[in-house]
Symmetry: none
Subunit: 248 residues, 2 copies
C-alpha cells in the first residue's frame, strides 16, 4: 500500500470518527505503529489533522467556532499578559467568562500545569489544546446573554470547593461602590465565586474604571489584585492603591 493511500484512509477515518488511535490504524493497515506515527506527523504538519498522544483528532471538530472580533483586544491582551504572572503551577484556578479571561487563557504558557475551573464553555474550549491544564467545566443553566453557566446549581457547586485564585472580568468598578454588575444571575454567581476563592483578581480595561452598574458584587476590600491595561503607577489608579489593592 502506498503512503498516500494510507494518508487518505487515515483522513477518512478521522472524518468519520473524529479521532483515530495509532494502534488501531497500525493493525487496520498492517504496518508498524512507527509508520502510522510518521504518517500522523506528516498530516499534522500539513494541517490536515491534529496529532495527539496515542492518535489524532479531526481538525474541523476541534475548532468549529471562529473567534469573533473582540473589543479593545490590545488592552485585553496586555491585561492577560499581566494576569498570567499570578498563576503558578499546581494551582486551582477559578475563572469567569468574558473576553479578557479568554485572551488570558489563550496566552497561558504551555508549561503551566494548573486545574482550571470555569463557568464558561468558551474558556473550556480555548484550553482544550493546552497540554497540561485540566479543565473542569462547572455546569448549570446556560445564560444566552453572558455565555456562561449560571443558576443555583453553579452556586451550590462553588460552595463545596476552595480555589487558590479567582479571575474575573467586570463591567463596573469604582471607589464608592466597589465591583458592580448589571445582571442578577451574574451577580449571584460572582459572589459565590469570590467566596470560594482565597484570592480575587479583577481584570478591567481602563475604559470601565470608575463606572458603576446597577447591582453590587463585592466591596473593594475583597479585591486582592486589580489588573488594567494602564501602568500600575498611573495616577488614575491612586485611589485603588490606597484601598490596599495590588495593582498590575
Amino acid at each position: 500500500m502506498l503512503k498516500k493511500e494510507r494518508h487518505a484512509f487515515i483522513i477518512k477515518q478521522i472524518n468519520l470518527h473524529n479521532k483515530v488511535l495509532s494502534a488501531d490504524l497500525a493493525t487496520a493497515l498492517n504496518v508498524s505503529e512507527d509508520t502510522i506515527r510518521r504518517d500522523l506527523m506528516e498530516l499534522d504538519d500539513s494541517r490536515q489533522i491534529v496529532k495527539v498522544h496515542g492518535g489524532a483528532l479531526s481538525k474541523s471538530f476541534h475548532y468549529p467556532f471562529q473567534h469573533t472580533d473582540i473589543y479593545a483586544v490590545d488592552a485585553k491582551k496586555a491585561i492577560a499578559r499581566k494576569a498570567i504572572g499570578l498563576i503558578k503551577s499546581g494551582m486551582m484556578v477559578l475563572t469567569g467568562g468574558g473576553t479578557t479571561v479568554l485572551e488570558m487563557m489563550q496566552a497561558l504558557p504551555q508549561n503551566l500545569a494548573v486545574t482550571v475551573f470555569t463557568i464558561s464553555p468558551l474558556v473550556a474550549l480555548q484550553l482544550a489544546d493546552h497540554p497540561l491544564v485540566t479543565v473542569i467545566l462547572i455546569g448549570g443553566e446556560f445564560s444566552k446573554d453572558s455565555q456562561v453557566c449560571v443558576g443555583s446549581q453553579v452556586v451550590n457547586y462553588l460552595h463545596e470547593i476552595k480555589f487558590d485564585i479567582c479571575f474575573l472580568g467586570t463591567n463596573g468598578i469604582s471607589i464608592a461602590d466597589g465591583v458592580t454588575d448589571s445582571d442578577l444571575n451574574i451577580v449571584h454567581l460572582k459572589k459565590a465565586m469570590i467566596n470560594a476563592s482565597n484570592r480575587l483578581v479583577i481584570m478591567c480595561i481602563s475604559e470601565k474604571l470608575n463606572s458603576v452598574q446597577r447591582m453590587n458584587v463585592c466591596p473593594l476590600a475583597k479585591v486582592d489584585y486589580l489588573i488594567t491595561d494602564l501602568d500600575p503607577d498611573n495616577q488614575v489608579l491612586d485611589d485603588y492603591r490606597e484601598k490596599g489593592i495590588q495593582l498590575y
Copy 2:
C-alpha cells in the same frame, strides 16, 4: 510496444484501480522500471495522474481531501432534519456531542420550546441564539479529545433526572454488537445518558453503519430510533428494522 500504448495502458489501469505500482507495470509491460518511471513522470507532468513514491494514483484520489471541512455535512444535515421531527415542545431533551448533534441543534426550529440538557459546550453555544430553548450544560471534567464533559460528576448528575428523549451520535453500530464506541469515558457517559432517558435516538451516517468499535455501549434492544441519511426503506437497514427499531 510503443510509448503511447504504454501510456494508454497505464491510464486504463489507474482508472480501473485508482492506483498503479511501478514494479507491477514494469513486469506487466515487460520494460524496465526506469521506463515506467519516466512514463509516470510524463503523465504527471501532463496532469493526467498523480505520481507518488512507488507508483501513481488517480487524480481524483489526491484532490478532494483539502476541501473537507466537516465531513459528510450533507448526510448529517439530512439526519438532523429527520431527528428534529422527534422533538416536541415542552420536552426535556438530552444530547451528546458530535457534529451530527451540532447540525441538529443548528437546524432546530425557532418556535420549538424545549429544555436541552447537554454535555457539550459546543451544543450549548450553538443553542445560545435560539429564542425559546433553555440550555442546561452538564458540567464535569472537560475531555480534550471528545470536547464534552465526562467523568463521575456527569454520571452522578444524570442519575438524578429523567429525560424524555436522548439524542446520541455514534461511532459504531452493528447488528451483532449493538452500539459501540472506542473511548472508555464516553462509554460510561453514554450508558448513563441512555439509562436516564425514556427514549433513545441513535444518529448514524450510513458510512458508519455496521462498523464496530472496541467497547460496548448498549445492545440494539435499547435503541428506539435509528436515524441515518438513507431512505428508511433501504434494504441495508432491514436487519435493524427486524430488531424492532424505528427507522427514519
